[in-house]
Amino acid sequence: MIQLGCEQLPDRDLKLKVDEYSSAIGRLKGLEIDIGKIYSEDWDEVMGPTPWPSVGSLRNWDRKLLSRYKPFYMPFCDLCCLCTFGKCDLTGDKRGACGLDMSGQQSRIVLIAAFIGASTHTAHARHMLDHLINEYGRDTPIEVAVNTGVEAPNIRLVCGLRPKTLKDLKDVLDYVESQIVQLVAAAHTGQEGDNIDFESKVFHAGMLDHVAMEVADIAQISALGLPKGEPETALAEVGYGSIDTSKPVIMCIGHNVLPSIDIIDYLMNNNLFGQVEVGGLCCTAHDMSRYDKRAKVIGPISWQLRFIRSGIPDLIVVDEQCIRTDVIQEAKAIGVPVIATSEKSCLGLLDVTKEESEKIINDLSLKNLDGVLITDPRKVGEVSVKTAMNVWKRRKGEKKFNIDEISEVAKYCRGCGACVQSCPNNLPIDEAVKTAKEGDYTLLVSLYDLCVGCGRCEESCPVDLPIVSMINKSNEKSTILEKFPMRVGRGAIQDVEIREVGQPIVFGEIPGVIAMVGCANYPAGSGDVAKISEEFLKRRFIVLASGCSAMNIAMTNDEEGQNLYQKYPGNFNAGGLVNVGSCVANSHISGAAIKIANIFAKRPLRGNYEEIADYILNRVGAVGVAWGAMSQKAASIAAGCWRLGIPVVVGPHGAKYRRMLLGRKENEQDWKVFNARDGKEAYVGPVPEHLFYTAETLEEAVVMISKLAMRPNDTNKGRAVKLSHYIDLHQKYYGSMPDDLHLFVRRTQDIPFTMRDEVVKILQEKSWVEDKIASPDPTLLDRLVRRRE
């Protein structure tokens, strides 16, 4: 590619072909010049060293991180079964027939998870972009947020491209897709063999993922008119109670909002919004509410089974990602049809995209078909609304949990305990069912908030008890009324907000930016994400939220009946709770960190990945928290954070990603940086201590999150603020002072004033020496040293 600038000229390759040419100078024959793209220059920022990075371009940066944050593998499987030499036993120090050892295999599995996640967002982005270009035109301008010039920080950083219209995003996706193919190839037998190189490729997948997510979200914001970074967005309703069950109900499940948009459009265009309820589960719900706040957010991904079995939906529309693959069977059990809308999840259904709408509606309404595949969103809109209305008429009165009296069902229980062992959280289901036999449902009721809704208990039950339904039925009266307000996802963070908070974040005076992201595989109920969030909101951290976490934050009220969206403002500032939106809106979280380096610190962004990541690692106290992380997408989102130097804390189920990236705080040599002022090496202490960390309990997580917000660049005041939170939280949850303060106090000015005596006592016990920990202009990149002494 010859790259002369940034702005792309007409979206076609330039080809020059000369069959034969003679002149006085000489003779040409069969000359062919092929220029992929021509870019014109109107972005005066100099191109950085790594535009469109290949798999190996950022390998050195990755290895710097991985030499400090070493992988700790916890294999799920000791065997490799990916080729016909196998199964190969890799236990301990054995190698497989291909020569790969256990470290290599585990990192390979992590890579596979990461590129599945990145591919999923990329495919989502491709579908979104192609559709929007088709509907709105390729010259639709990119307009992401008000008061904002840096519209696409991830794309600018990685690709060195400043996208202006939808068509510019096509090049970005071409690049991402070509790189993902390289990563998939690296996982083939007999390719990559070193675990650290596999890990570098994991980081690459993560970086690509954030680019793809950004494409998807800025495209839909620009074309569909989703909120453009305004802090106080409209309030949408969340929960079962938001649905008026007396009307036909369409339930949309998944992540790609396009089919749901056409359902909403059809309702609006035909004046039917008051007559039909449309609600969503998971990120589709977020984006529906961003499009029109009248769309209801039923709940997080783990509510699929619950909500289907409640009997409330009259039609289920699935798009893509995290949908239950047994949705047809579940829907059939309550007598409602399913419409699949993505070629990525056809679910065995007949493709009727080209058939007449009326015939499809008839077939679905009369149960001639259990479901259909329709890939044209416009057709989905009409068919869904009309089908739901017909099915509703047929089902009137049947909208309820289809289960006999719980105590009667419970009598079949043998008390074998298989349900408890299969439950991801080992919930005491056996005890609850035992007491339910006697008509006491107290224990069943108590399981409701703790259940992640996976249904594994039912699969393990030798007498096929419908345990999930029993739990839900026991809670029916209270949950059916639950309804909570949630500020709809605002999308990007405005540049003006970054200018305002850049300095206090980088100097440490705003103690940190905490991003509550990810799925709903919680270890002890959904209320935990609200608890973690409020702990930091009260302490004036900035808390961002997305996906299922953003919904679950809404679904917890305090004693006065208020949730966090009602108690905390939506601006990106100290004590703000910022719902960015769906999974793909996570790109705005990484984007905010990138923009702090660019807008506040004036670090060049364009194709300058290492420098920006180095800046974030050393200066921006951001921490990702995925308390219920479940999917491969969550893995790739986390990987994109790691490469940018943002640590991620996951809940205990996150250990099943089978690899942590852990620092060793006691190893001084691991915590040295260059001082950009003089080129000398300096010991800065273990900040941030880990890059990927599983916490066993919420309390452990909260303390660790506060610690991970520390950065080498903190000013004395900033470090004192951060230490005060770390110490206070440690005392609150561990009942004692931390025993590692000597690693984080650099000089006496760092000591929180109100804790001075206690801290000094500990420092003396640890033989602490002032200024052993330096406060340089920190960088891991030798090339950023400005002057050498």
Partner: protein, 182 residues
Amino acid sequence: MPGKMITGQIAEIPGPQKALIIQSAESVVAMIKRASRPIFVFGSEAKNITTNDVDLINTAIKLSENPKNTIVTTGHTIAEFRRRNGDKVFSMQLMNLGDRLRDPDWGGFDGRGPYDIVVFAGFTYYLEWLVLSGLKNFARGLKTISLDRTYQPNAGWSMGLMIEKEWKDTLEKIVSMLAEVK
């Protein structure tokens, strides 16, 4: 084994190498006593698991009376130990501990070098499973034992699935012998 075994050990089996079943309280005690540097790790579920000492926290405190036994608790559970005067118990987060247990150069809590046998109890099934997997594969010199009530295939030795009373009695017997200071 004093307890009645459930036929076949139901577990998520990782591969060819699986834990041996602890055949008797005496045998596991003998194994631990033979070790020069044993460490006992109690997880955050310890306060929710009832034993003949009321709960696993009290059991761990009893074990800590013998100075040969190094006791560490994970998560934020140390707060509960301190409330009960379990002052001889160390605290370290599970991931940090797992990472160090695999390191032959780690000096341990007293700086005297790595441990040679690690005994786990008081964890959710999957979390213990995973950390034991990490140690099985990457801490080859370290012996691992699970005293939890479920079979942990990644341990070197594990209790079998037992009915609750028999597990409590067996655990009491093991702990009584290990807590005894001679």
